[in-house]
Symmetry: C2
């Protein structure tokens, strides 16, 4: 399958984002050409798409989410984080089986497509079912281990994680797996030590929820005499990199560890605001050169899976926190939402629009009132962009969403019905 996008603006990245005018060609899963587009007489395409002066850009990378939690959207809002986890999320999750997670993940994937998200870093249970949803729909998913003391005996959990890591990194071309665990506060010390051993065994990065709420940090200090970052570091968890989700309440010492170990902070501004967790010190992190990516978090806490809202919040909340309207400019945020996420997830082969990379891209409709006038396109994307501007989402060379229609090999109404059926069966 050869597809030609012509009459396009194309967002490229070398040292900073740049917009060129021209064409982008795709053959099967990869980008074969980005440039002015002098058509060779030999070039025959299966489909030629007039982009009508609109923008082709890399798809967003959702660097932290729990897709299957769609079933809890608008189910139990307006509660403090730890209460919400303990009285609503954990008990409801315990009632879910793998097949249900498969259906619920599909619902999330539809929403990712509407928001121009082309890959997710998904921490949940039942990777077999979660990856099945992604594979069937044509999506790209890097799964993240989410074991905890609740997923069973230490040895059992560690064996699971080890098995998943080996299996799902050689499973499918659009599926990956990273070592990970739920959080310090849901892990015993032997479990954490075991994870550190796995990191050593595979020389692999490890990801986890880190310092999301102040209570979490305070309780960790009481338990271990150290912050979560300090404690995990003392156990060697991050000896081969990785990162933390949320990272709202970080000390300078924590940031120093992140810098030294080159750990990624995955920020989740909507979730952190809605759950009153706080605002992560992103400007300080960037000043220190710590890599930052953006995630939506799960739909139970956010409640939507919209990278445009996350991008605006990433910069707007930072301006509030720093009391400085010039803090964190649009291009920095756009980098986090695309290349920054890809780096964290190990997706360097689909992070930007270059010949040879996987064709994970979106078309942004600039001919919409919120994108006019065209004073500055990247600022427009971050400050006034919306899901409504996503005209097309392509993953691995395949168009999965175009002009409000889904091409995921299944009737979307059935996915909605199934999600409603599942939540209704649990009440």
């Amino acid at each position: 399958m050869k597809i030609r996008f012509y009459n396009a603006k194309i967002l490229t990245f070398t040292k900073d984002f740049e917009i060129i005018e021209g064409e982008l060609w795709v053959e099967d899963s990869r980008i074969t050409y980005v440039g002015k587009g002098i058509l060779d007489s030999e070039d025959i395409f299966d489909r030629e798409i007039d982009v009508n002066g609109n923008l082709i850009m890399p798809g967003f990378k959702n660097a932290h989410t729990h897709s299957a939690m769609t079933f809890l959207r608008s189910y139990a809002d307006d509660m403090p984080l730890l209460d919400w986890l303990n009285t609503q999320v954990f008990p409801m999750e315990a009632k879910l089986n793998g097949e249900e997670m498969y259906h619920l993940s599909k619902l999330a994937i539809l929403e990712y497509l509407t928001s121009g998200i082309t890959a997710n870093f998904d921490m949940y249970f039942c990777p077999e079912d979660v990856s099945k949803a992604s594979i069937e729909m044509g999506f790209r998913t890097v799964m993240c281990g989410g074991i905890s003391q609740f997923t069973g005996e230490t040895d059992y959990s560690l064996d699971l994680l080890d098995g998943y890591y080996r299996k799902f990194n050689h499973y499918h071309e659009r599926i990956g797996y990273r070592l990970g665990f739920h959080a310090e506060y849901t892990a015993t010390r032997p479990l954490l030590e075991g994870i550190a051993s796995l990191a050593e065994k595979y020389k692999a990065p490890v990801f986890t929820h880190n310092s999301e709420s102040l209570a979490e940090v305070e309780q960790c200090i009481i338990r271990n005499g150290m912050t979560p970052t300090g404690y995990l570091n003392s156990l060697g968890i991050h000896n081969y990199g990785g990162g933390g989700f949320h990272c709202v309440h970080m000390t300078e010492g924590d940031l120093k560890i992140f810098k030294e170990k080159n750990l990624t902070v995955v920020t989740n501004p909507a979730s952190n605001a809605k759950l009153a967790s706080g605002i992560a010190p992103l400007k300080r992190m960037l000043d220190l050169g710590i890599p930052v990516a953006i995630g939506t978090d799960g739909p139970a806490s956010n409640n939507c899976l919209d990278m445009f809202r996350e991008m605006f919040l990433t910069t707007a909340l930072q301006k509030l926190k720093e009391n400085d309207a010039s803090a964190m400019d649009a291009n920095q945020v756009l980098y986090m939402a695309t290349i920054g996420g890809a780096n964290a997830m190990g997706l360097r082969d689909c992070d930007s629009l270059e010949q040879g990379k996987y064709a994970d891209l979106i078309v942004i409709d600039l001919n919409q009132p919120n994108m006019q006038p065209l004073n500055n396109i990247t600022k427009n994307l971050v400050y006034s962009g919306s899901k409504q501007n996503v005209k097309l989402t392509m993953i691995h060379g395949r168009i999965l969403y175009e002009d409000n229609n889904f091409y995921v090999g299944e009737d979307v109404e059935k996915i909605y019905s199934k999600a409603n059926e599942i939540i209704n069966s649990k009440r």
Copy 2:
């Protein structure tokens, strides 16, 4: 023209929002029926719309904006408020003429329609041109006086405001005008005294920017020994009501005045975040019983005109400020964005969906992934709703936007071109 919406969910309001299933009929500009919809044999409609189980709700009221500032979108972001006003906004605005404001207002109106906004409270210059744009496109606009020491000698400005007030309140059925001025910090004392006299003359409410930034409040205290609210109150500006836009930095004394005079706070959370102005104490205001409405502010500061983003920010920022995830629930926010705004703008005849009211309504597509499952529809609207869910926008009984197409009597591409042409001519 008689239109029947059937197979609908309908958002009604008595003491709280409620969703009924049934039909809504429109004849010319007004709603003629809301209910179960037992069709009478005599009922003949020009158009019958199967709402397909989706939601009909009142249009959003954008209770503070500067529509024509579309030309400055993404033009000069990332600057502190007062610098931004003085070095970018005021000099660029000075170059605009009325005809240009007419074209630029049209661009904003297109964007309002995509976001389900059916009326705007618009503070700008050249009401003749601003209202012309609104009238021609079928939109509903309440203009707000924006005079300041820069709009000319005191007497001249006051004569203008007086003239506008008399003219534009008897001008067109979809146009209104409220007394107003830019802000305390751009008004001389004689000007403010003159506005108080006009309020007295017409027994009319007065609106203005109030306590948007901390610097504004501090400088007012230095100049006048009082906060902006205290000072304006001492001059009798609000003797017949009205309200303040922004109201970020309010003392308890200020809030007491707002409560006593029944003044509306129009909050602008995205603008206040992006310009690092702060977070308004909305929870405290609601606890005191102060009326609150929501505005997008102008597209130069926001940068988009999206009530969904404003609604999420209204509650999410309040949760952050109060350090309480239960602060400000979804229905409170939805009230502010609809009925609260209508009350502030004097639009009680199109605030909710009831027989006899003007048909200012929108259809929300619930058959989208971000609205599923249907655990709680009003929470879905506030926490995960998006412009993408707006299927149809009707104002005064006329459909102006449906399935991503505009019906505003004009080619939208021309409106975009004109906006680009205007900004390019000013550089």
